[in-house]
Amino acid sequence: MRAVAISAGRRLQGSTSASLLLATVAALAVGALLIVIVGVDPVDAYRSVWEGSVGSLDALAQTSLRMAPLLIMAVGLIPALRAGVFTIGSEGQFGIGALTAGLAVLGVAPHLPAWLAIVTGALAGAGGGLVWAIGPALLRAFLGIDEILTTFAFNFMATFLLLWLLNGPARGKDAFLVQTSPTPEDTWLPTLGDTVANIGLLLLPALVLAMVAFGRTPGGYRVRLYGAQPSLAAAAGARHWRVVVLSMLVAGAAAGIAGWIQIAGVDRAVFGSVFRGYGYLALALVALGRGQVAPTVLGAILFAGLQTGSEAMQLGVGISADFVFVMQGLVLYLMAFRGGRGREL
């Protein structure tokens, strides 16, 4: 039975990636229409999208910076979505992880060697994200409270908690914006060659491989079984509360690490504006990718490219970078529409 399930999974995986590409092409076509309406040549516009996202080594490096947090969060969400746990809390866990990572680095940097401060930041980020996931996880596992609304609520609580802390107790001296002090330069993630990309990028293949491997362990099998049929999973030795709590905590820790990589690799301080909607994008990608690894990775690359491409398009041909939200919204909508009923998780 398992072999059948796996081969069926492979077939669907192929079609999900194809569906993502198809949705992207369709969205770009609608986007071209929109570009014409606002009075710009779509060929020029899309040339600057291409050049700004993947057209050069620098562009690729910029895209990688946006891809990293998105991909880390998405990979971390895979077990939860496979188990049928629809946590939409990555956004808040990302912000809390960024905050704890940033504060930890600022705290320990004067006392520890730089590499140890970096590791401390990563652990603190993971811990912060994990802690922010505990409440909704326990409420779902032991009281049966729907995780969608609670995780959503925790996202907003995180937003306002961050604003309060960064305006008050955690605000950096002499900071003009709502932010902490900048983190010391030796705690920034080292860059790769002459580009802005950093070594955090090397973490991604490891995480992806780890998730592929997890899917082949008995634990990974029980998670999928739980998602398909909880009573059957219980007979196979999966405990309800363990599947729910652990999968939600894994998602939380991953989102926290994504927050850390944003701070250590890009922002270099914790800003009140750290929230970028990556958490929701990651969730949508995993949900539409039916919890599979390949379409999730493909989607993270695509969405990051759309992001940097749209920024380049704003500079190049003067179309507002809000274009990226139209594109991402269209891709997600069309992909969900093509999937339709019964192809959901």
């Binding site: 009281l143 959503f152 907003f156 909607g277 939200f325 919204g329 997600l332 909508y333 959901e344």
Partner: protein
């Protein structure tokens, strides 16, 4: 302690209450629509995007035509137009409701901000709607400034709220919507056209969200700005969750939150109150309400056993 009470008394004045009512209008409109949709069993996360589209179409039409009334109508139509996509996906195609709703948040925000950014020069700002004159009624202490010195959108919203409450409680549509929300399979068995009912409910949600967006741009600002709804659609989701889809409680929740919002600026001067945390209040309330319901459920089960 007495100094704190004195400070708080200075914050919660009639003026705060009056501007609280004003601030509550857009959120209340969106929340009324969301309640209709959720009564029919459709959790409409796209509401924020629908508000954004309504805010933009309302502003653009009012700016171009010079008519605030036309602007409000265009706002409602804009929100409903985006809601067509929600209905097509989640009701007719059976797509994942969270992903589809989120996609429409992105699409609505993106379209509204983009179209504004590209047409900013040609769109003129205008004076927002003024107060409706009620003559001496506005001079009544407390009640006057709070209830009789608001703009036309406020009174329209009140009428609409009563109409929706009656629609849900007294008409066939209301009963069918509740049936679709409670148990769609049973509703089908009883001959209810679930898709049709849900489609109408989702379109109504879009209409009200669009009106809510236009209430900001046409009703109180006379301008548009990037992300002008600032998450009010999400706040509406929280209010509906706390009010458990009942229109009366939705209005109470919206008023309470509007007053909290209005007091925020003045609370800044009161020591010891973290004003940045005040917007989190509805979300804490959502979690506490869900917790309360779950505990009550467990207690009932224990008693029964």
């Amino acid at each position: 302690m007495s100094w704190l009470l004195a400070d708080l008394a200075a914050v919660f004045t009639v003026g705060t209450l009056a501007s609280g009512v004003r601030l509550a209008v857009p959120t209340a409109l969106a929340a009324i629509g969301e309640a209709i949709s959720q009564r029919a069993g459709v959790f409409n996360l796209g509401i924020e995007g629908m508000m954004m589209v309504g805010a933009f179409t309302g502003f653009a039409v009012a700016s171009g035509s010079g008519s605030e009334a036309l602007g409000m109508l265009a706002g409602g139509a804009g929100g409903a137009a985006l809601a067509i996509l929600m209905a097509a996906g989640s009701v007719w195609r059976g797509t994942n409701i969270i992903v589809t709703g989120f996609a429409l948040v992105l699409l609505g925000q993106g379209l509204a901000n983009l179209l504004y950014a590209q047409n900013q020069e040609s769109l003129k700002t205008f004076e927002p709607l003024g107060e409706v004159g009620f003559g001496p009624l506005a001079d009544i202490p407390v009640v006057g400034p709070v209830l009789f010195a608001q703009n036309a959108v406020f009174y329209a919203a009140l009428v609409l709220a009563v109409a929706v409450a009656l629609l849900l409680a007294r008409t066939r549509f209301g009963l069918e919507a509740d049936a679709c929300g409670a148990d769609p399979a049973a509703a089908v068995a009883k001959g209810v056209d679930v898709r049709r009912t849900r489609t109408l409910a989702v379109l109504a949600a879009g209409l009200f969200a669009g009106l809510g967006g236009a209430a900001i741009t046409v009703g109180s600002v006379g301008n548009y700005g990037s992300n002008i709804t600032a998450g009010k659609g999400f706040v509406a989701l929280a209010l509906v969750a706390v009010a458990r889809n009942r229109i009366g409680w939705v209005l109470v929740a919206a008023l309470l939150f509007g007053t909290l919002e209005a007091s925020q600026a003045r609370l800044q001067d009161v020591d010891g109150i973290p004003v940045e945390l005040l917007p989190a209040v509805p979300w804490v309330a959502v979690v506490l309400a869900l917790l309360g319901l779950a505990i009550a459920h467990v207690v009932r089960l224990r008693r029964a056993a």
